[in-house]
């Protein structure tokens, strides 16, 4: 559990981060979202003490970060940044093994961990281990950057706009991969982005920052349905709110008994996908499947009712 307690960072007379308090549960993804200058990156960088807080403190599993030497603290916290920051003169294996090397793991342990992580990120160890970063595609560089941040099995992974340099198609894929790997490893992740779409699709909880203040800290559905301020509502985008909400709900939640014609939807699909399929095929209802067998149907009416429900 990460507890951020009344943390403030002042530059001159400006409070870049103003008395922010929040608690992050172990094994969850928390996305900090805000416009540039909102203090989101400063907040993140105060957690591994790349910035020293002016006041307040951060506790990781009950221990205040101020009691540990900064460089020792950082070796326990993974850090992935925009533009990956890989060392151009080191191979992929040396890059991923950088933190274990600092922690003086044995050569065998490091090699095993590198291969394990490369496999986890769908990169063949034999093929990629000895390549240099310049010999990888943008998406591969980004994956190696995240693998490096995860190498020492850190208590917490901080990510500062990790997908910012990727083009949209690769970005979606990278987000899915991250979600998948986080579920598999049970990592605790705090991620900074300016993209509300990314925040909603990735976050278990979303923290919206504005002018150094934390204006709302809630699960994505609540951010969409009950924005705390006009700023949050603006960030979500009024017009797209119903669609964003639908994208968070799976078909499984509104399956009803009955039959329908047309192409079946898996129950794991989102209601946004279901709505799209209904509009595209011109059907009022479509069959829904669980594990390949039809278990009921999804109706346009039910989708509409769910979108208007606002929880």
């Amino acid at each position: 559990m990460i507890e951020i307690d009344q943390i403030t960072k002042t530059y001159g007379t400006v409070n870049a981060v103003d008395a922010v308090s929040m608690t992050v549960e172990t094994g969850s993804i928390t996305v900090i979202v805000g416009t540039s200058g909102s203090g989101k990156t400063t907040l993140l960088r105060m957690i591994n003490r790349l910035e020293e807080p002016t006041s307040g403190e951060v506790r990781i599993n009950g221990t205040s970060t101020s009691t540990v030497k900064p460089h020792l603290l950082r070796r326990r916290i993974g850090y992935a940044i925009q533009g990956h920051g890989l060392f151009p003169h080191h191979t992929v294996a040396r890059n991923i093994g950088a933190v274990p090397e600092l922690l003086k793991w044995s050569r065998d342990e490091i090699n095993a961990r590198v291969d394990e992580l490369l496999a986890l990120f769908s990169m063949d160890p034999a093929e990629f281990r000895d390549r240099f970063p310049a010999e990888l595609s943008g998406g591969q560089q980004q994956r190696v950057g995240v693998a490096r941040a995860l190498a020492s099995r850190p208590d917490l992974l901080l990510m500062d706009e990790p997908f910012g340099a990727l083009d949209p198609i690769i970005r979606t894929r990278a987000q899915e991969d991250l979600r998948h790997i986080q579920r598999k490893l049970g990592s605790t992740i705090m991620l900074v982005t300016h993209d509300m779409e990314e925040a909603i699709s990735l976050g278990d909880r979303v923290a919206v920052m504005d002018g150094g203040k934390l204006v709302q800290y809630a699960p994505p559905a609540e951010i969409i349905s009950r924005p705390a301020t006009d700023f949050v509502a603006n960030m979500v985008g009024d017009v797209e709110r119903p669609l964003r909400l639908l994208s968070l709900i799976s078909v499984a939640e509104i399956i009803e008994p009955g039959e329908a014609d047309g192409e079946a939807l898996p129950e794991t699909a989102s209601l946004r996908d279901a709505l799209s399929a209904c509009l595209w095929t011109g059907c009022d209802a479509l069959p829904a499947t669980r594990g390949g067998t039809v278990v009921g149907r999804v109706t346009l009416k039910a989708i509409r009712a769910r979108a208007g429900a606002h929880e």
Binding site: R74, I81, G85, L86, H89
Partner: protein, 388 residues
């Protein structure tokens, strides 16, 4: 015949035209003694036809072989052929020219020879560049060229030439000054590295220090070299006279110490400047990542900044080494020794060949150092460049 036209090498054509023109210039100079100006003799008059015909023919054929762009190996062979022709003309004609002249007569290569020598070296370099030899291959080629040079000089083929007569009467002094020259150039380089690397690293971390240091070093660089060596005389003379024990370790107004210090001062800017530039060349994201993963400042320097800046830092050392080999000649003026000794003796005596005895080895030394350092820089650059 379109093909021939498109395959003509532009530099090869230029070399051929310049080479033919150079053949018209005096090839050798015959002088009554080592001081007076001699008479120029063109290549086809330096000896009888049995010597000049094959020699001049080899030069012209060598130039012709350099013309076709696509036949790189033939061009290389042409350069070797032409050089052999020059060596033939030089070594065969020198004794013949001397027999017709007096006891003190001197014979030396003239403008035509030097021009052709440079042209064939350029042709060789141009052909080699097209072959794109790797760093190791280049070192081997350099060694081969130097070995050939030593072999020719050692064989006595050219011992009738004036510059080698100057050499044979100063054989011991030559090797002493050679060592002295190396000592000045490499010693000041080592001292500049010892002072410059730490200073550069400090400057990298403290912007204030950098702002104060680099302008001072730049100012030192702008002092004309003759003035710099001259300035050392009163300064070190004063130190030698006032600081106890200074004279005992060789610090005086003239000699090795002031020359060494002047070279050191010239070396600091390239070393410090390139160290700062090399360290600053680290991609900011890589540095941020290094900090974020918990590297100490020392680890960041040793594992990230220095390895990534090494090619730039070594380039600084290359500049210093080549610069100091040349500048060390001026040390001869203040009794610092080195090849400059011969240059200034030659200037005083108006003996051109004695000047050459100092200048030619300096040029060869500087070229050798430049090629070796380039090879080293390239070896450290073998990491693929970062893609966008």
């Amino acid at each position: 015949m379109m093909g021939i036209r498109t395959h003509l090498s532009p530099p090869g054509l230029l070399f051929a035209i310049l080479g033919l023109a150079a053949l018209l210039a005096p090839f050798m100079t015959l002088a009554a003694n080592r001081i007076v100006a001699g008479d120029g003799i063109v290549a086809w008059r330096v000896a009888g036809p049995a010597i000049t015909v094959p020699g001049v023919a080899a030069v012209m054929i060598g130039l012709a072989m350099g013309l076709v762009a696509t036949w790189t190996r033939l061009r290389l062979l042409g350069a070797v052929f032409g050089l052999a022709g020059l060596l033939w003309l030089l070594s065969r004609s020198a004794p013949i020219l001397l027999t017709q002249a007096g006891e003190y007569a001197r014979v030396s290569p003239a403008a035509g020879f030097w021009c052709l020598l440079v042209i064939f070296m350029l042709l060789m370099a141009d052909a080699l560049a097209a072959l794109k030899p790797g760093p190791f291959m280049r070192a081997v080629l350099l060694f081969a060229v130097l070995a050939a040079l030593v072999l020719v000089l050692h064989s006595g083929l050219l011992s009738d030439l004036s510059v080698l007569q100057e050499f044979s009467s100063r054989r011991d002094a030559f090797f002493t000054e050679f060592q002295r020259h190396l000592g000045l150039a490499f010693g000041s380089l080592a001292a500049a590295a010892l002072i410059g690397f730490p200073l550069g690293i400090l400057c990298h971390h403290r912007a204030g220090l950098q702002g104060a240091t680099l302008p001072v070093l730049s100012f030192l660089q702008t002092i004309p070299s003759l003035a710099m060596f001259g300035l050392m005389i009163p300064i070190l003379g004063w130190v030698g006279n006032t600081v106890p024990g200074a004279q005992a370790i060789g610090i005086a107004g003239i000699g090795f110490a002031p020359a060494f210090l002047a070279l050191l001062l010239y070396s600091l800017l390239p070393v410090v400047g390139n160290t700062v530039a090399g360290l600053a060349a680290t991609p900011p994201a890589a540095l941020e990542a290094a900090r974020g993963m918990g590297m100490t400042p020392r680890q960041r320097l040793l594992r990230v900044e220095l390895p990534l800046g090494l090619p730039i830092i070594l380039t600084g050392l290359r500049i210093v080494l080549v610069q100091n080999i040349g500048l060390a000649v001026i040390a001869g003026l203040i009794g610092g020794g080195g090849f400059g000794t011969f240059v200034f003796q030659g200037l005083n005596q108006t003996a051109t060949d004695l000047i050459l005895l100092g200048a030619l080895p300096t040029v060869v030394l500087a070229l050798t150092a430049a090629i070796l350092m380039d090879t080293l820089v390239e070896l450290t650059r073998r990491i693929p460049e970062e893609t966008a």
